[in-house]
Amino acid sequence: MPDPATPATMDMETLSKIGDLDLIARTVVHGMGVGIHTGLLSGTSAEFKQYRPYSQGDDIRWIDWRAYGRSDRLYVKEYQEESNLRAMILLDCSASMDYGTLGWTKFAYARILAAALCLILQHQHDRVGLLNYHHQVIDHIPPKSGPRQSRLIWSALHNVKPAGHTDPGPTLSLLGEILPARGMAILISDLLHPLDAVLRQLRSLRARRHDVMVLSIADPAEIGFTFTRPVTLVDMEHNSEVKVIPEDARDAYLENRRRHFEAIRQSCLESEMTLTEISTETPLPQVLRAVMQHRLHLVRTSSRRGGGG
């Protein structure tokens, strides 16, 4: 657990008021405390990492025979692993993401999450890209590594404003063109568009053999429908209005929502996608750790595949 006294654990309200996404991302990542080290895996690549004494069980292929000739001792040569992972962050920038009751919106939360993810993945020598979208693609930054890429992504995240409605169609078609097979797609969205569109979007991603991780962002007021007084609600994407008596509408709302997400959950399960439902109350480091766990699993799997075959 991160030390609650460090600035890394600054609350979302404070973070959301800081304009510099680079700083925010570093602050949040620093709050994770662990897992930001480079080279989580040692493996084969062009980049030498270190020598270490041979120990029983080590693959004899990695013994440096030249060193043995010089020193008459067995050393194993280790290289910095290159993951070759291409990660694409898909950020939902529709108007519904601009909702929040905690002092920050879902979009503010998602943007910081995306920036922090970008930073972590860059540290892992992964190639990271960004796709901001609503009913059309707003920004498209192809996956690359390096500090310049980070700056590009943060700049795009900083400039984007949530607006319009969600239509994943154009995003999907673009994604099919730009993202090579077996890449990693991290979808950050509230998934508040019609169920068939959501499912189509997710299946389409999976069909291209992407490893898909879905981070579903929700505000506590959406999760619990916490209104207490009769109220007139306005849809942020379509501007339609409805008068609501919370005590009457709550049960139906919760049931409809449950069904919607249950269907998404089921679809993810069937398609081997990871769905993480996140409340904007959840501390960001906790979410980041979950993502990194998934990434580690993915790299190991692909490494095993690559190594094995």
């Binding site: 519904s96 993401m97 601009d98 909702y99 879902k106 509230d190 508040l192 568009h193 019609p194 505000d219 959406e222 209104f227 007084r229 009769p230 109220v231 007139t232 609600l233 306005v234 849809d235 942020m236 994407e237 379509h238 339609s240 209005e241 409805v242 008068k243 609501v244 008596i245 009457d248 509408a249 139906a252 709302y253 919760l254 409809n256 929502r257 919607h260």
Partner: protein
């Protein structure tokens, strides 16, 4: 007569009805729409349900408001008044008691004249069949004119009442309304009658006069009518004086207070023994008090008197505060104790003398220069000393003898031998005797005259030496009586001996009794016995008008004067004197111009507080009837001649409230 409210003030609670309305307003849908991320999960509104909900909310709101209005109405005690078919006139007219306030506060401006005018007008308005009595009151109440005797006519009685009113002037005492109301009640209820009964009070209705009104109210049958005169005015007063130190110079501290609404500046003038001494200016904020300090010369031995006067204002009665200073020489006591238990008893008596009390005793006096000899247990004492004491008594000094432990002391034996007394048959038996009969008329027993102090159950006397009655009554100080024996056996004797006198205790206190030296019975008994034998100069600074001063009893000629600079000295008889005006009370021995004993009398502090109550509050606090308008029942008006019947509607309002609650509950449950 119609609908009325017996406690209309409580109708103010009707404001509670706004609470459901406010809650309803708070519960209403916000006029400003609230943005929400997506309405895809929100069920479509059922317009019918929404409309019905709105109606239900309104019905519930109305029910809640109605319930609270009914509750407030129940507290306000609604009633329906009807005129009784038979009027008072038919029954011989109402009986009225008119009471006029003559307390010191009525001296303010023309308050008393105004009260007298209003009362006179009410007397003129009386009908032929009506009857009345007239009272004057301050701390106590006095009947100026009782109810009519059979042969008197109303007009002659009214004329007589006016005559007595004209002779009346406000006095100096405080106001107490309850004694007046109690006297009025006695007068009204003296005769069994169905006639209406009214008490009319003409007063400035000082709040301080209603202190006892929490515990007493006029019976329901009596209607109380208050007629307030005047209004509260600014009033500066000197309310207390303290003298520290003594001759040749003392510090005098005067506390001056201002009871009013505006800041005032006053001058405080000090006069001592008829001579103006000093003046000081003082500024007083409303409701505050300040201490003004003077340094004054005081004579070494003679008593001094003076007053402090604040600049006169509307209430002059409390502008002057009188004080008295008595130098207090100690009485020289020759204390001698015998042997054995007498030593212990002597110590107890000594402590009892020194412990408390207004007198000062010098117990170091020798046989040559004493005023009073105090002999505790003569056994073991030198015969020459006893002879010296006896000689002193015969020469005009005094002595008190408290026997020691022996059952029959030589002193008593000598007394019996002289034929002055003899032992009652069978009274020599041992055992404790309860003291439960006393000759309270003897001056020594002055502290025990009130019922509060004559309980001797806590003080046990043993080794009593009863003496059979046979002495002159005035020589018997107090007597003992065994339970069931009412023979009246004297316990101590007062024995004149030539020029002096001797007091002989025919008993000994029980030494085992705890706290004898602090006993509220034993200590005063010792001190009063000593004071009786030798009249000292006493220091009593001041007291309130109406309190009784008690003076030392002596065989010499003496006189009491009560005077101030403006009044002529007037002699009074008796050992008690009650001051009725502010000033000094002085006790002169013989024809001496210099007083030996002096004290000051002042106005009761609470009378200076001119805060008034309203007529309605007065009636509410002193009457058992529900509050009615003060103007109701004024003699001669039609209202007064009608007798009404009141039908309380409060219970119906309460029932309505309960019904409304039940209906609201069931309706809310049904619609939820």
């Amino acid at each position: 007569m119609g609908f009325t409210l017996l406690s209309p003030l409580l109708l103010a609670a009707i404001g509670l009805a706004a609470v459901p309305w406010i809650l309803h307003r708070m519960q209403r849908p916000e006029r400003k729409p609230v943005a929400f991320s997506s309405l895809m999960f929100v069920p479509p509104p059922n317009r019918e349900i929404v409309r019905r909900k709105q109606i239900q909310h309104w019905i519930l709101l109305l029910m809640r408001i109605a319930a609270l209005i009914l509750l407030a109405l129940a507290f306000a005690q609604p009633a329906w008044r009807t005129v009784k078919a038979q009027t008072i006139q038919d029954q011989g007219g109402a009986r009225h008691v008119f009471a006029i306030d003559t307390s010191a506060s009525m001296q303010v401006l023309d308050h008393f004249d105004q009260a007298r005018r209003e009362l006179t007008a009410a007397l003129d308005a009386l009908g032929g069949e009506e009857d009345f009595a007239l009272l004057a009151f301050d701390e106590t109440a006095e009947t100026l004119l009782p109810f009519r005797a059979a042969e008197e006519t109303l007009s002659s009685r009214v004329a007589l009442a006016k005559e007595r009113l004209a002779a009346l002037v406000p006095g100096w005492r405080a106001t107490h309304h309850v004694p007046m109301m109690q006297l009025a009640e006695r007068l009204l209820l003296d005769t069994q009658t169905d006639r209406a009964m009214h008490v009319h009070v003409y007063s400035d209705l000082q709040r301080t006069g209603l202190a006892e009104a929490l515990e007493w109210r006029a019976p329901v049958a009596i209607q109380v009518h208050a007629h307030r005169v005047g209004a509260a005015v600014d009033n500066g007063r000197v309310e207390a004086v303290a003298i520290d130190g003594g001759a040749p110079e003392a510090t005098l501290r005067a506390r001056v207070r201002h009871l009013g609404a505006e800041k005032i500046e006053r001058t405080v003038q000090l006069q001592l023994d008829g001579q103006p001494m000093q003046e000081k200016s003082v500024q007083l904020e409303p409701g505050t008090a300040r201490t003004v300090v003077f340094t004054i010369p005081l004579p070494e031995s003679a008593p001094a008197r003076g007053y402090l006067r604040i600049t006169p204002d509307a209430m002059s009665a409390d502008d002057t505060f009188y004080f008295a200073y008595n130098p207090q020489p100690a009485t020289r006591v020759l204390l001698r104790t015998g042997t054995g238990a007498a030593v212990v008893l002597g110590k107890i008596v000594e402590l009892a003398l020194m412990n408390s009390g207004p007198l000062r005793w010098d117990l170091t006096a020798g046989p040559e220069d004493y005023d009073v000899a105090l002999i505790v247990g003569s056994e073991g004492l030198e015969a020459s000393l006893l002879a010296q004491v006896e000689a002193g008594v015969r020469a005009g000094k005094a002595a008190m003898l408290i026997p020691g432990s022996a059952r029959l002391q030589p002193e008593l034996a000598a007394l019996l031998a002289s034929g002055r007394a003899r032992v009652a048959p069978g009274a020599e038996s041992q055992g404790a005797f309860a003291l439960h009969w006393l000759n309270f008329q003897h001056p020594v027993l002055r502290p025990f005259r009130s019922a509060e102090h004559n309980d001797f159950s806590a003080l046990r006397f043993t080794r009593v030496h009863p003496i059979e009655p046979g002495l002159a009554q005035e020589q018997i100080i107090f007597t003992f009586e065994e339970s069931g024996n009412d023979a009246g056996i004297p316990g101590a004797v007062d024995i004149p001996l030539d020029a002096g006198r001797m007091l002989f205790w025919a008993f000994s206190p029980e030494l085992d009794a705890s706290n004898l030296t602090k006993s509220t019975r034993f200590v005063p008994l010792v001190q009063e016995c000593m004071a009786y034998l030798h009249v000292p100069v006493r220091a009593v600074a001041e007291q309130t008008i109406g309190a009784t001063s008690r003076f030392p009893a002596t065989d010499d000629a003496w006189r009491i004067v009560h005077a101030d600079a403006a009044k002529e000295e007037a002699p009074h008889g008796g050992v008690e004197f009650t001051a009725t005006t502010p000033g000094w009370t002085a006790w002169h021995e013989g024809d001496s111009a210099a007083p030996r004993w002096i004290q000051a009398a002042n106005l009761a502090v609470e009378e200076s507080n001119l805060e008034q109550v309203s007529e309605a509050e007065y009636v509410l606090r002193l009457s058992s009837q529900n509050m009615v308008a003060a103007a109701d029942g004024v003699p001669g008006t039609a209202k007064d001649e009608e007798e009404t019947e009141t039908w309380p509607l409060g219970p119906y309002a309460l029932m309505g409230f309960a019904c409304m609650l039940v209906m609201e509950n069931s309706y809310a449950a049904r619609t939820r």
